[in-house]
Symmetry: C2
Subunit: 432 residues, 2 copies
């Protein structure tokens, strides 16, 4: 039986949705890698009683490990350590040496700010040097130290207290894992395996039908914890199992591969983004973008991974028609005759990008993201894509996408990625 864990994300800015939590998902991945079974993520504001209630809830649920993020800053609304100390029954005491280390960090940081009252800032940060009795200090990656707070009487969860800024949390997590206090809390975790299949161009309900069929045919199916979800226009099937479920997983994978060969594009967890990047690198090709409705999202997505400069040349954000003409040499008359959202203009955009940017393949996207700008024959959601390479091979597509402006723009980049993938793999026009 594996260790269960909970994550407490703190901060009124997160609870009220002004700041998106990036720590829960990240920590959840790290815990899974350790074979720790994450049961709950809870989010609370900067209110001591609510935070304490969440810690008690997780303890009642029998988790052996709680990771908190946020609430370690200098302002009065940063209360996590005080609450965790009370929860664990361990009084706080000022650690003089730690205070000195924090002051050193502050001094170097605040140099870049002009006319700053350093003493006042240091005073505001002094509370960050308070340590619960018996806790293990995690040295700051920013200015706030973290803590590992073991249960007072040996029973109950160990609490790992980490700061909110993702970069600091990531760096300090490594430190935390290396401590005895942490190891003690996670020992006995079973190594779960998690596999993922990705499909594109298929409704989730059709996968449901396939899984239903698999349940009857595959022995040991019940050993697989299967979740399916729609994400950015793709269907992800995630299968979690203990080592004993390996055979059933292999059978399921074959079963799905046979039924959905045309839409199953990833069986090793790789994203279409990764696949496109690898295909480009393998060919030694560079990609150019020509975007209208996505306004730069396709370029941003292609350049997201480190090392993108190896395969991304650049391109044009041709939002206004004048920009399509000026930046990509799309004939103004073509736009007038066919409309800015048309397969013809998409192809002209791709050709223009390929001509102007030194690149080997181009992806063009033009569409009506809405909410305005729709017409009877080209309603909101109408998008045209064209992927074109230097040999003149092209895969084009026009469709009507569901969703709001953000969804249409985002999913348009997903379709763009899949068209690039097919072109680079030398595949035919998609079935979808």
């Amino acid at each position: 039986m594996s260790t269960r864990a909970g994550i407490v994300v703190t901060g009124t800015e997160v609870l009220t949705g002004r700041v998106r939590d990036r720590n829960g998902p990240w920590l959840s991945d790290r815990l899974r890698e350790l074979g720790v079974d994450l049961a709950h993520i809870t989010i609370c504001g900067d209110r001591p009683q609510d935070m304490e209630a969440q810690l008690r809830f997780l303890a009642d649920q029998g988790v052996g490990l709680i990771v908190t993020s946020g609430g370690l800053g200098p302002t009065a609304d940063d209360i996590t350590l005080e609450v965790v100390a009370r929860f664990a029954g361990r009084p706080l005491a000022l650690d003089g040496a730690l205070e000195g280390r924090i002051a050193d960090i502050l001094e170097s940081l605040t140099r870049r700010w002009r006319k700053l009252d350093f003493e006042a800032v240091r005073a505001a940060n002094r509370k960050q040097a308070l340590v619960p009795e018996g806790a293990t200090i995690i040295e700051p990656a920013g200015t706030a130290p973290g803590m590992i707070v073991p249960p007072m009487d040996g029973s109950g969860p160990t609490v790992v207290v980490l700061p909110g800024p993702p970069r600091e949390l990531h760096a300090m997590w490594e430190q935390a894992m290396a401590t005895d206090a942490f190891r003690a809390a996670v020992e006995g975790a079973t190594a779960y395996r998690q596999e993922m299949l990705r499909l594109f161009g298929i409704p989730e309900s059709e996968i449901a039908v396939t899984l239903h069929g698999a349940q009857e045919r595959i022995a040991g199916f019940e050993e697989l914890e299967i979740t399916t979800c729609l994400r950015r226009g793709e269907v992800e099937v995630v299968v979690r199992h203990e080592p004993s479920g390996e055979a059933a997983w292999k059978e399921l994978k074959a079963f799905i591969a046979e039924r959905h060969s045309a839409t199953l594009f990833s069986t090793d967890g790789s994203t279409v983004d990764r696949q496109v990047a690898d295909l480009l690198v393998r060919r030694g090709w560079k990609v150019a973008t020509a975007e209208s409705c996505t306004g730069g999202l396709m370029g941003a997505r292609l350049t997201e991974p480190p090392g993108a400069s190896a395969y991304v040349a650049g391109g044009a954000v041709a939002y206004a028609n004048e920009a399509k003409v000026a930046l990509l040499g799309v004939p103004a008359q073509l736009i007038e005759v066919c409309g800015a959202v048309s397969p013809q203009v998409a192809e002209a955009m791709a050709a223009g990008a390929l001509e102007r940017v030194p690149a080997d393949v181009a992806i063009a996207i033009t569409g009506v993201a809405g909410p305005g700008g729709g017409s009877e024959d080209k309603p909101v959601g109408t998008v045209c894509w064209c992927a074109l390479d230097a040999d003149g091979t092209t895969i084009a597509r026009t469709t009507e996408m569901p969703g709001d402006r953000d969804e249409i723009r985002d999913r348009s980049t997903t379709v763009g990625m899949h068209l690039l993938r097919r072109l680079l793999r030398g595949e035919e026009r998609p079935v979808w």
Copy 2:
């Protein structure tokens, strides 16, 4: 005393971080508008016992309203209704009329999919027509209906059950609010007021010092619930208060405005994105982008709001040096002499965009997003911006940004927005 509420976000894909939750933040805003005090957001996987434990936790915390999102789909891992029905002590029964309505929706939806076994899909969706006894149905915006499930014995929370896809949840929330069952659950909510100040170019700890000073000077300060947070490189100060706190809020606002006049840019909650858009529209200007390290993020951010076509012309993603030359006419020699990441190249990029794209103002960004590509004199995080208008007025900036690749790219667009804002307001070079 106002109604407290909790949100339960369900779905293993959310718990494990594969899908980012967009519903918690959105619902949190809606609840605040209603004067409902959100106390907790909890996230659980598709496991009945964990979901039920979260519902009981929220009930124990005395919330009057619980909103759940997700887990209403056709697959076996969609268990929310079954759990909520058990939690509320209300048996599930098949609603024939509802099943018919769902079947009609399905038929129209599945037309676009080829070779689809419609009967199997319909069977998979039949479970979506199960209704807890005494619950109010919320008609589907997709295929899954929602439910409003009142407490069995009149005490305990009302549970509003909504689907996971944001667009469906948004549409169905409107319906839910109009029902008597919902009104009954939220009656007696106090209208809280929430105000926001935004500052740019100042460390959070300096705000902490200011707030500390305000606490001593301002009468009724304790009536203000103040949270500060760093978001995309800006400091947000959010103040929540009941109507009686209005005077203290006004004093605090004046106090901060006086101390931080150079960095306080928003006192009405408006974002820098909104301000830049309004300034462009007011002048009847269009903006062009010239991006290197941000790869299109600046263009994507400028075109995010509906109606962006009124003020965004377009621009170039000049990621590779060849693209800077080809698309923006940056002299290759200038890149060779000064380096691609230099104020000179940033200015040449802005000038090139202004020349080629029919636009009135341009923003250029070039930098080292890392993790590779850094050098001794230009380490990772070095970014150069140049905002330039048709009259030749320019505001440029070069700095070293902290953070990882994603943070550097994202915050570079924030700085770009603030440079555009200053240029459009006819302000001097920033103090930061």
